[in-house]
Each structure stands twice: as C-alpha cells, then as structure tokens.
Amino acid sequence: MTPLLSAPRRFSSPRDAVPTVDQVMVEERAAAFARRSIKTGAKLAGLKMVVSMMDLTTLEGKDTPGKVACLCRKALQPIEPKYNVPPCAAVCVYPNMVRHARRFLGDPSPVRIASVAAGFPSGQYPLRTKLEETRRAAGDGADEIDMVIDRGAFLAGEHQKVSDEIAAVKEACGAAHLKVILETGELVTYDNVRLASQLAMEAGADFIKTSTGKVQPAATLPVTLVMLEAIRDYFFQTGVRIGMKPAGGIRTAKQSLAYLVMVKETLGDDWLSPALFRIGASTLLNDVLMQIVKTVEGRYQSADYFSLP
Amino acid sequence: MSNARLNVRKTYKLFVGGNFVRSESGRALPVHDPAGRPLDNVCQASRKDLREAVSAARAAAAGWAKKSAYLRGQILYRAAEMLENRAAALAWEISRSTGASDDQARAEIDLAIDRLVYFAGWTDKFAQVFGAVNPVATPHFNFTIPEPTGVVAVLAPDEPSLLALVSTLAPVILSGNSAVAIASEKHPLPALTFAEILATSDLPGGVVNILSGQSQELLPHIAGHMDINAIVNASGVEGTDLALQSGTAVNLKRYARRGLAAAEWFGPAGEDAYWILDTVEFKTVWHPIGL
C-alpha cells in the first residue's frame, strides 16, 4: 500500500487508504481481553513486566526539582530489592524538569528520560516554539520526546500540516526517540484514531501514544486496540515495528494486565518489551507493587507500606 | 417504674436525585388521618425544589434511556420485589392515612406489585408492538421506533394513594423517561414511603423524583417549566386541565389526562399499555437500499 499522503488529492482522501473501524465490535473485542484470568506465576511475571514498561509520570504545573528527584528515585528502585522488581522504563516530565532528572539519574541510567514537548498538552502553539522546546529538551538530556499532534488541524482536515509538524519535530529530536500523542479523547471516533495513527507512523513516529492524561477519556482498551491494529498493518506493509503507549486512566494492576493481554494477543511476543510497549502512569505503580507483594506474601496490602513516587 | 419505650418518629423527606432531602424553603405540612387527627409532617416543596427535581430528572434521563430495555425491566421487577417485601409497612401507611382496612390496603398493594410486574414486562416488547418497518415505495429501508420524550411531570390523585401513583409512573419510566411526581396532597405518606422502595431497587438516582407539598403552589411552575417535556395529570382535581394546558403551550409539552375514578384504578382501566405511548416520540429513519 502506498503511503496515503502521496495519493492524488483530487480523487481520494487519506481516509480512503485506511480501513474503518466498527465501534461495537472493537469494544466487544477489547472487553474480551479484560476477561482473561491471569493468575499466580503469570500474574507475577506480568506485573513485573508492567513495572519494566512504565513511564513514571509527573506533569503538574507545580512540579519542582524536589518532586522530580522523588520520582526518579522511585523509578530506579520502586520497592525493596528482595521482590526482584525491575526499574521503570522511564520517567516522564515537563521540558524544564529534564535537566534535573538527568542530574538525579546520571548518565547512563537504566531509567530513561522522556520529556513532553510541542506545546503539551494542547498543541495550540506556533511550530517554531514547539521545535525549540523539543531541541532544548533533547539537548538537556531527554532520551525520548513525547509530542502532541495538532488536533485542531487534524479535525479541520489539514492532515498534511499535522504530518509535516510530526516530521519537523522528529528532525529536531536528534537521537531522541519520538512518541506521538494523538489525544484520542479529542479525536473521539475510532476511525479518526486509526487515521491519525497511520499519519503519525508515516511521518516518523517511533511510538504512538494515546493521550496527554489531561483530557477524559484518556487511554481505554478499545482505543489502544485500534492503535495496535494500525501498528500491525504498518508492520506488514513496511516491516517497521512501531511502539505503542497507552497513557492516562490506567490506575489498577488488573487494568494494566488487560493491556498486556491485548498486546500479547494482537502483536505477539516481539511487542511484549519496553522497547515497543510502555504505559504512562503515576498512581498505577503502587497498585502494581501492592499486587506483587500480595501474590508473594499471600496477604492483602495497605498503601501505608509503599513509598509515594 | 414504666417500661414504656419512646418511639423514634420518622421524618418524611422529599426524594430528589436519589437522595432524601428537606425542602429548601424549610417548610412543612401536617398530614391528618380521615378523622382529622395529626399523623406526621411532610416537607412542603417549593418551586425551587421543583426546579432541582427537574434538573435531577434531566441529568438522569439520558443514562436511563441508554440502558437496555432488558435492564430497565429488571429494575422495575426489582421494585416489585422490594414492594412485596415491605408490603406490611406500606399497608400501615395506607390504612392510617386513608382509613382503609388492612384487607383493603393489602389488596391495593398486591395490585400495585402486580402492576409493576406487568409494566416491567413491557420494556422490551412495546417497541415491537407499536413500532414498525414501513414498506415505502422507494428503495429505502424505513423504520419507526419509539423513543422516550424526556422529563415527565406526574400528578397523582388522592386515592388510591399508592396504586394510582405506581400505575401512572411505571408506564412513564419503562420507556426511558425520567419523572417528577407530585404526591397526593391529602395522603402523601404512602408515596414518600414508596420512594424508599425505589431507592433500594437499583433505580438510578434522578429517574424518579417525588415531591410532597401543595399542588396549587407547584402547578403553575410545572405548567410553565421549559425543561419538562410532558405532563401526565392523574390528579382528578377540577380545573387542573386548564391550568396545566395553558402553560404547556409555552414549549408544547405533551399532555395526558387520566380521568379514572378511585375504584377504576383497581380494574383493567388502571393497567393500560397504551399509556406508554403518551410519553414516547416516534422516530422514523430512512436509508437507501443499493450496492
């Protein structure tokens, strides 16, 4: 299949080149993943995998170097070593906090630094400043950039503009990996999400990501499924493996395991790795840790015993 | 030394948005039995209480209409279960309010329970009976479906104080409408106790709201409220038709009158499937048939 933006404009629109999505069936299929029963050894392995895939996040206006220090420490060692829990994949912070994170984590670090960028969260800013943010964050030591797309442009049908911006940000990233946030809650329909996913992948995304976490709904199982299916088709077309990150709204260990089930049964073993799958969360981590300890010790846990990130 | 125990008297509150609240006006009305002896006090709802109730009903309407017909039927059936379980309490309220004998009260409640079951069974059937696929002359698939009209105001008569309210409310909410019911002014206690039964029946808050008070005070505000879609007037009070219908013209509310005498509520006239149609809208949809 030819990249959809090179098709003659008069006779087709990008929508023609991307399959549509049936809402009822995709939601049914997504719900089926949540009904899998993950127990004992599989549960423990799954939960540890979830931790290793987590982008531990703080994105508050009131973030300070001190807060970021706590976050980094928690990401490096979420719980005492006896439980054998790996560090989180990354911390995710605002551009101004990147250099503090790098200072705390050192270089190299098992925990990567992801920075949001490009006018996060609204994206309603000029391209020039978006690129400058990106370059500075990358220059300050961010390994990964999580950019937002211009939803206004997308919904107005200016797909070329959306695509060009992604490509420009990718260029500005340098060596850093680019995650493209679609903000699925604002795109609303699964058809839009499918199209936006395709645009992002073709324009240079290394990862496609659901949400900023600032808009409801954020990540959901069906929306994630649609994006995984887009990744699958792209892999078959081009041989390139793109990663996926649901973010926002995943609060419980049970939910996170449902996402893992979905990745496993949609894309298979290759994507069950932090290199290709991440979960953006903050309160999720302690719920996962509580479940890990419960599985090991056999007792229901209390939040008092788990340090806050 | 006396062993007499002081009882804890019940406060009868308004039922709005799934909660039991006092009137914002802080007023109460005494309720008397047929011999004129005082029973208990009820809240005197004000126009602001009415306003809140309509807001709550509006907020609940969309979610209630979106539930499957099967689920609405199960909830109505559960209301019947709860009413059956608390029949003794309701019988006491009816007897002391209206002077009815225990047997009469129990007969009324049995019928109210069966009415709830009857209407519960309509939720997933009335669309088949009253809707249609229309054989139009052009190559179009054309169908007509009933949809709930929205927020409905219900005025109940004085007698039978429980049965009439149940018989009027059930056909309104089974299709997905939410309701604001004004209890009988003379015998409000059974209605307010019935609210407790609804509150324990898995009915989402706001789908049914029950207010006690003076109908005369509330009527003009109901008639003129721009966010009420329909009125079902079973009050049986002279002159209310005129008062209500004059007001309904402001936003073209649907208006239905139930003119049954007290005894008629006990017969088949009190269990009419066609009442469902008074508070539904029929939507017709066209779609071409072709490759």
Binding site: R36, A175, F235 | L291
Partner: protein, 518 residues
C-alpha cells in the same frame, strides 16, 4: 510569487543558529517481507486458571414427571461423560414410551386443571421467579454445563446462563400480553407441547423451548439430548423451588427412541425440535396428517461475506467468532467464508494469525476459548469431513496449539482452495472448521451464499449502509447479521428458511408456534 518555505527547511536552518546540530537519529530497522510474521509464543504464558468452585453432581438422576423425580419404567440408566476428560460424570435415567406416556398424562392433567385456567399474569410470575433463581444459581449451572458438554466455562458463564435467565424473564412478560402480539385475534394455548432439544446449548435450548410454551399457557414434555442431560435436570429442581405446579414441565431423559415416543404420542398437540435436518425430516414425516403443530430448527451452512470496504479487523473477528464460538457446534455458525478478492490475501493472513491466539483446552479453565468436541461420534464426523476436504484438494490451515492427552479435541481449522462443489462447502460439519472462498462482485457473493439447501443464517461485512440493506434483503436466510455475528436476544426471532427448518423462536413472531388463533 513568494515561495512558501517548508517547515522542515526552516527547522534545519534554525538548528545551526541555536546550537550544535543534534546527532542524526538512527534509521529504524526494517524487517524484509518474508520475515514479517507475528510471533505468538511463550514469552508470557498464562498460568492455569481453573474454575474452582465445587459443584455437586449426583451419582444418578431420575426422570422429572408430575413435579417429582421418579425412576424410569425400564429401570435402566445410561452414563453421561465429560468430553474433556472422558470420565463418567453420573448416570441418567433412560425413559421409554411408558415414561413418555406418563409424562404426557401429567402434562395434560396439569394443563386442563391448573395451567390453562391460570390467568396470564400469574403464569408470568412463575417464569420471572425461575429467571431470578437461574441468576442466583448462575455459577453452579455454568460449571455443570461446561462439565457435561465441553464448552468453555467462559462461554457458559458469560453467554449461556445469562441468556437462559433473559429468556425466562422476557417470556414471563408476554404471558399476560399475548393479545398485543396478535392483532385482531384471540390467542389460546395449544395444550401439551413435546420438545426435543440438542446438545450444543443444552440449558439455553431448554429455555428457548420451555419459556414461550409456558408463557402461552401450554404444558411441556421435554427430552434433552442424551449426551447433555444434567442441566435440564437441575432446571427441573429450579422449577420445584419456584413452586411451578406439578406436571407443567416434565423432563424425560433418554436416547433418540425416547424422543420418537414423544413425537409419535397421540395426545401431544405440538412438537418443537432443534437438531439435524435429517432427524427433522423424520419428525415431519411422523407428524404428517396428525394435526400436530410443528416447528423445526435444523442445520445450516451459513455464508459469512466480507466485502472490500469492511472494517477488516473487526470483520475477521466476526468470522472467528462465527465459526469457532462453541467449537463450531452452532447451527447458525458462519462456516463458509466468502472474502472479496481484493482483500482476500489480507483476510487470510489475519485469520491465520488470529487462530494462533485461540486457546484450546480444559473447558473449566477460564482462559479457554475453544473447548472439547461434544462426543466421540461428533469428533469422528468432523475428522471424516475434513479428511474428505483434503482428499478433494483443499488446503488446511490449523492452529498449532497443544492438545490435552485425553478427551475429544479438534484444533481451529480453515480450509483454502475450496469451491462450492467441495463437500466441505456443502455439508454441515458442526465443528471448528471454516471453508474459505473468494468472490469478485457482491452479486456473485449473494448467488453463492444462497446456493445451498440450507437457509438459517448469514453474515455481511461492509462499511456501506446501502450495501448492508441490499445484501441482507437478498440473502435467503432467517437470521442475517450485518457487521456482527452470533448475536442473540430473547426479543429477536430466530429460525430458518428452506431445509434449515420452519418456525421462529424468540420475539413476537416466536410466540405463534405456541398458540392457536381464533
């Protein structure tokens, strides 16, 4: 004309002004076409997740006649086994024509003296009670159904049992409203209904038969399938618990001969049968000239049609659920796939990947998607037909999953290079086997879909609304699913055209089978 500088160019210029040029990003690795396969391996294996709630199966079950459990006239019992383990579960009473006669007499007496005199409102309340008790005992019934028949616990728990409750609930509401279902007529019950049901949805089929019959004022003599009698007998206990008057429902277990005694009995007013077309024809012959009302719900060979403008991933999901749900033991299974040529390759690839993630195994494991084949006999039939397909030149694609050592199993399979002249495209396999064919135009798909003596169901997958209505309008099938498959509801009539039977179950139309109209 001022030339518009592309953002990319602007960015590149600006980089040098602001600072050192960032190192160029690494090129993403590209897998060559032949290596673009998904690996569904063991990187993260699910642990066993067995349903552990203990459930009591009696060592022996008697007949349920006239409100009581009684021994069979012959004193004989037959074994019921668990098809997933081949272990014996219990003994079931073997009813014969004498037992059937006793049951019909009880049903007649109950009809004349109690049930036909009871107002519809009261009859309905019994059905509501039954629905509520089924909901209370849901887990137990689901486990019994899985152990007796082999279907995954996930299905019996999430589909069969809730649907059973829904059928009783829905029909409870019709009992006092029948005059609305038949404008201009007065509906009256027929009397005694003889009902024979199959082994693929044992409890659900019992509900589909009993609920409308009772709602309309009839009494029932029901024979469950020989391999799956347990849940029907537990349903009988629920009838007792609900206080259903004795004789209103009678259950006579036994082999085919017992069923024959029912449909030959002179005092049965109506026969309802769900099963194979072959037996359906036998019954039709037996009922000829007797005045018995008859409805039959028989086999099918449904076409599932994917058009090029379908929402493809969801269409594939629909194909999968259409044929592998309940191990393909579904009369309305979408057993013939017609995929439009322009998307054929994509559909096959997605099917191939999808069957690898279907979990076949212990039906009591909550993660099992495809359970055991119901009996050895059925397994042999499936094997025979698939072999025939291979002999006739079809290609075979199967999932690669491991199978348990004991029990009756068949891996999800699809056959390619199939045409309408292959036996596997014509005969009902009743197993997890899909025959795949292509087509060029929608008219061709319709022609081929209708080119069968069966006519129970069909599926159409397309994003275009008008196409949906055109194609569903022309498919000669009693149930057509557009952009969906295997959807059931008590309010939705179900039944076939042609040799898939006649009569409908569910909805307003489903009531006609159980009333006479004057």
């Amino acid at each position: 004309m001022k030339s518009k500088t592309s953002p990319k160019l602007k960015a590149r210029r600006a980089v040098t002004v602001l600072g050192p040029v960032a190192p160029r990003h690494a090129v993403k690795p590209v897998a060559p076409a032949r290596d673009r396969r998904l690996k569904f391996g063991d990187r993260w294996e699910y642990a066993p997740a067995p349903e552990t709630i203990p459930v009591k199966i009696d060592p022996r079950y008697e007949l349920f006649i006239d409100g009581k459990f009684t021994a069979p006239h012959s004193g004989k019992y037959f074994d019921s086994i668990n098809p997933a383990t081949e272990q014996k579960l219990c003994e079931i009473a073997q009813g014969d024509s004498q037992d059937v006669d006793r049951a019909v007499k009880a049903a007649r007496r109950a009809y004349e003296t109690v049930w036909s005199r009871m107002p519809g409102r009261e009859r309905g309340k019994y059905l509501f009670r039954v629905a509520r008790i089924v909901q209370e005992r849901a887990r137990e019934l689901a486990i019994l159904e899985t152990m007796d028949g082999g279907k995954p616990i996930k299905e019996s728990r999430d589909f069969d049992v809730p649907m059973v409750a829904a059928h009783f609930f829905h029909h409870g509401g019709w009992a006092d409203k029948l005059q609305y279902a038949f404008p201009g007529r007065t509906p009256r019950p027929l009397g005694v209904a003889g009902q024979i049901i199959p082994w693929n949805f044992p409890l659900l089929m019992a509900a589909w038969k009993i609920a409308p019959a009772l709602a309309c004022g009839n009494t029932v003599v029901l024979k469950p399938s020989k391999t799956t009698s347990i849940t029907a007998l537990h349903l009988a206990r629920i009838f007792q618990e609900a206080g259903l008057p004795a004789g209103v429902v009678n259950i006579v277990t036994g082999p085919a001969e017992t069923g024959s005694a029912i449909y030959h009995h002179p005092d049965v007013n109506k026969i309802a049968f769900t099963g194979s077309t072959e037996v359906g024809k036998l019954i039709a012959r037996a009922c000829a000239g007797t005045g018995k009302k008859l409805t039959l719900e028989l086999g099918g060979k449904a076409a599932n049609i994917i058009l090029e403008d379908a929402a493809l991933d969801q269409a594939v999901e629909g194909i999968i659920s259409g044929i592998y749900f309940n191990q393909g033991h579904v009369c309305c299974a979408g057993s013939r796939l017609f995929a439009q040529e322009s998307v054929f390759g994509t559909v096959i690839r997605k099917l191939r990947d999808r069957i690898q993630t279907l979990r076949v195994g212990d039906p009591l494991d909550k993660n099992t998607d495809v359970g055991a084949i119901n009996s050895r006999a059925q397994l042999e039939k499936i094997r025979e037909l698939v072999q025939c397909g291979i002999d006739e030149g079809a290609g075979v694609e199967q999932s690669e999953c491991a199978l348990p050592a004991r029990g009756y199993w068949f891996r999800p399979t699809f056959l390619t290079n199939v045409t309408m002249s292959h036996r596997v495209a014509q005969e009902e396999i009743f197993g997890p086997v899909l025959a795949v064919m292509s087509f060029r135009t929608p008219e061709e798909a319709l022609e081929r879909a209708n080119n069968t003596p069966y006519g129970l169901s069909a599926g159409v997958w397309t994003d275009k609304g008008s196409k949906i209505f055109k194609m569903t309008g022309q498919l000669r099938a009693g149930v057509v699913w557009a952009n969906s498959y295997n959807k059931f509801d008590p309010a939705s009539p179900f039944g076939g055209y042609k040799e898939s039977g006649f009569g409908r179950e569910g909805g307003r139309q489903g009531l006609s089978a159980y009333v006479s109209l004057s």
